[in-house]
């Protein structure tokens, strides 16, 4: 199987879906002439032309709304936010227009749109460019939210998102674009939205996570294995609808859970996962669930402080040991 980057996996997904369906178009800042701020859209302008690969002004609220309007009358937009941090300016269109149109119209107007872009922190970008927004977005009925952590999942979930008749939020990661993995060169790579995947199997404890943090979890799992501790690593992949069965099944197996996420603690995705666990696995738990997340501060710039703020393998390992009463 070919090994390609996460970036190229996204590029393949968009290219294949644009070849397959002429209603699909890509719109956003720097997606066309510049070839994408992160080169995800490399070559697409040349292949599909400027009507289907559209550079916008810096006008997030505006072009997010253009996407929703176009979707109302039958097109299938892929709207790229240069980062989800900038999408805050457009959140009215995501929440009040895309997510609610079907319901408010009594089922008349569904919105087949994908809003995608990098989410969370990269390196030393400080406060305004280093935020993980998934708990905000997953809060909203009427949206689907996916957060792939591997190239394969990125391709398969983006293709499913583009074919979905609902608004789908896709959370990528600047630190993921260069990561590599096996991806079939097959235009029917479709990963169902709403299905988690067991990325690694163990029996002592479970790490439940998603998106970029899957890399941290696997790194932690490798180190724990050297100490004889084998963990399940559950990659949620989709945050709305969340795969409750996968959560329940791993916790029933290991009886100990760590929930790892990139974002802040309060009302985070982890809080929701813990709620499912206490509801469904109350009698299965051998220890309180421990959460790993960003420190409850805006992201600092200084390298040492940034490192201290972010969740990492060491913090995850400590959490696993805590649920195993080893520390």
């Amino acid at each position: 199987m070919p090994v390609i980057t996460y970036r190229d996996a996204l590029n393949q997904a968009i290219r294949e879906e644009m070849q397959r369906d002429d209603r699909v178009f890509l719109m956003g800042e720097e997606v066309a002439v510049y070839q994408g701020a992160y080169k995800v859209s490399k070559g697409l302008l040349q292949e599909f032309g400027e009507m289907r690969v559209v550079d916008t002004p810096i006008t997030e609220l505006g072009f997010a709304g253009v996407g929703v309007g176009a979707a109302m009358v039958g097109l299938r937009p892929v709207i790229e936010f240069m980062t989800w941090n900038f999408a805050l300016l457009a959140i009215d269109q995501v929440v009040n227009a895309a997510a609610k149109m079907l319901y408010m119209s009594g089922g008349q107007y569904n919105i087949p749109i994908v809003f995608r872009g990098p989410n969370g922190a990269a390196l030393q970008l400080s406060g305004q460019h280093s935020q993980a927004w998934e708990s905000w977005l997953a809060h909203i009925p009427g949206l689907k939210v996916v957060a792939p952590g591997t190239p394969y999942d990125a391709k398969g979930l983006l293709k499913s998102a583009i074919r979905d008749d609902n608004p789908v939020i896709m959370l990528e990661g600047e630190m993921l674009y260069n990561t590599k993995g096996e991806v079939p060169n097959d235009d029917e790579v479709l990963i169902p939205i709403g299905k988690a995947e067991l990325k690694r199997e163990g029996s002592h404890a479970s790490i439940i996570t998603h998106g970029k943090m899957i890399l941290v979890a696997l790194q932690a799992a490798d180190q724990l294995a050297k100490e004889g501790i084998n963990v399940d690593v559950v990659d949620l992949r989709t945050l709305r609808p969340i795969d409750i069965d996968a959560i329940v099944s791993t916790v029933r197996k290991t009886n100990r859970a760590v929930v790892l996420e990139e974002g802040w603690e309060i009302s985070g995705i982890g809080a929701q996962v813990v709620d499912y666990i206490q509801r469904e696995c109350f009698d299965d738990l051998d220890a309180p669930v421990v959460r790993v997340h960003q420190a409850d501060v805006p992201m600092p710039y200084a390298k040492n402080l940034e490192r201290a703020a972010k969740p990492d393998a060491a913090k995850t390992i400590a959490a696993v040991k805590k649920v195993m009463y080893m520390e």
Binding site: T59, G62, G65, Q93
Partner: protein
């Protein structure tokens, strides 16, 4: 176009039949909304309810020049435009009553009337939020190489939002077939235009985007009709947007919950504007030309009152949405691969 002065209030070439239809449409809206106010007082209509009374010529004149395959998108003050576009009084009233036979199946209410059958893309509740959607509809028309037009209504307070400017810039930059119609009723809720906007000639905002623009009297339906026709020709023929300011006045409060006058505007001001009731303006024109008698008007009025009574009765008898409707239409379970028949069935 340059600033457009109202020169011929009455285009001689327009036939009497058209004017009678416009009068009928405006009078239907008026009688319908008078009953809305009554239903609101009785608790049959809840939530926010923004009446269009006084502004009927704007939507009626503008929508009258559309083709069936054109699109309309608007704000939360949407009852009049919905009826002008041909939506059923029964379906609209049932929606206001929160019933299953409502146009939005009781999920939208007064502010969110939608009807796919007549390309009515909704009433929208966030001031400015729907203006980019209109640009998106224009984008889709152009993408497909179609010659439809999207008509986007808004109040004058929208021009101070970012969404308005972002949408106008893209519509002008990309030459999208959208006609933006600002119904300037002088007040954004209780704040006078002069207290909210540094520029009082609203239509001149379009100059920032080198967009064709104009201003007309919004109380004369024939004047509105002619101006919108010109803008639509430009959109259809040259794929160019227009910003048209239509000067009007709201005879009621902002919504059902505020006083008609006394706080932000005087009774005298209101009474002065009511003299130019758009229905009276057109009725007087027709009568002066001998094209409408008092008896004919009274007969039309009786017919329309009966239609509105029928809508009320229909809405009153329509069931509330069933409990299972609560969780319906949050998402569709189709994809682009779903066969068309199955997608329709899933509706």
């Amino acid at each position: 176009m340059a600033k457009k002065k109202q020169d011929s209030p009455n285009n001689q070439t327009e036939d009497t039949g058209v004017r009678r239809e416009l009068l009928r449409s405006m009078l239907l809206q008026r009688r319908f909304e008078e009953r809305c106010a009554e239903a609101y007082a009785l608790g049959k209509i809840g939530g926010f309810c923004h009446l269009y009374i006084g502004q009927e010529a704007c939507g009626t004149g503008a929508i009258s020049v559309l083709r069936p395959d054109d699109y309309v998108i608007t704000t939360y003050r949407d009852h009049g435009q919905a009826l002008a576009r041909g939506m059923s009084p029964r379906g609209v009233m049932a929606e206001l009553f929160g019933r299953i036979d409502g146009v939005s199946r009781g999920k939208g209410g007064s502010m969110h009337l939608f009807d796919r059958n007549v390309n009515f893309l909704g009433g929208h509740g966030i001031v400015g939020g729907h203006v980019p959607l209109a640009a998106g509809v224009g984008f889709a028309i152009k993408y497909r190489g179609g010659d439809q037009v999207c008509l986007c209504f808004m109040g004058e307070s929208v021009v101070n939002t970012g969404a308005f400017h972002e949408a106008l810039n893209m519509a002008a930059l990309w030459k999208l077939p959208v006609v933006f119609i600002i119904e300037n009723n002088r007040y954004g809720m209780g704040t006078a235009l002069e207290r909210a906007s540094s520029i009082h000639d609203i239509y001149t905002r379009a100059a920032s985007y080198d967009m064709p623009r104009g201003v007309v009297d919004g109380q004369d339906v024939m004047v509105v009709r002619a101006a919108v026709q010109e803008a639509i020709d430009r959109a259809r023929g040259e794929s160019l947007p227009t910003l048209l300011e239509v000067r009007t006045y709201r005879f009621m409060g902002h919504s059902m919950s505020d006083a008609v006058s006394g706080t932000y505007r005087t009774k005298e001001e209101l009474e002065e504007h009511i003299k130019r009731d758009p229905i009276i303006v057109l009725r007087t024109q027709l009568q002066q030309e001998g094209e409408l008698t008092d008896d004919e008007f009274a007969k039309m009025d009786e017919e329309l009152k009966a239609i509105v009574q029928d809508a009320w009765d229909f809405a009153d008898q329509s069931p509330e949405p069933p409990a299972e409707a609560l969780f319906e239409d949050v998402l569709v379970d189709t994809t682009s691969d779903t066969p068309a028949e199955a997608a329709v069935a899933a509706d």
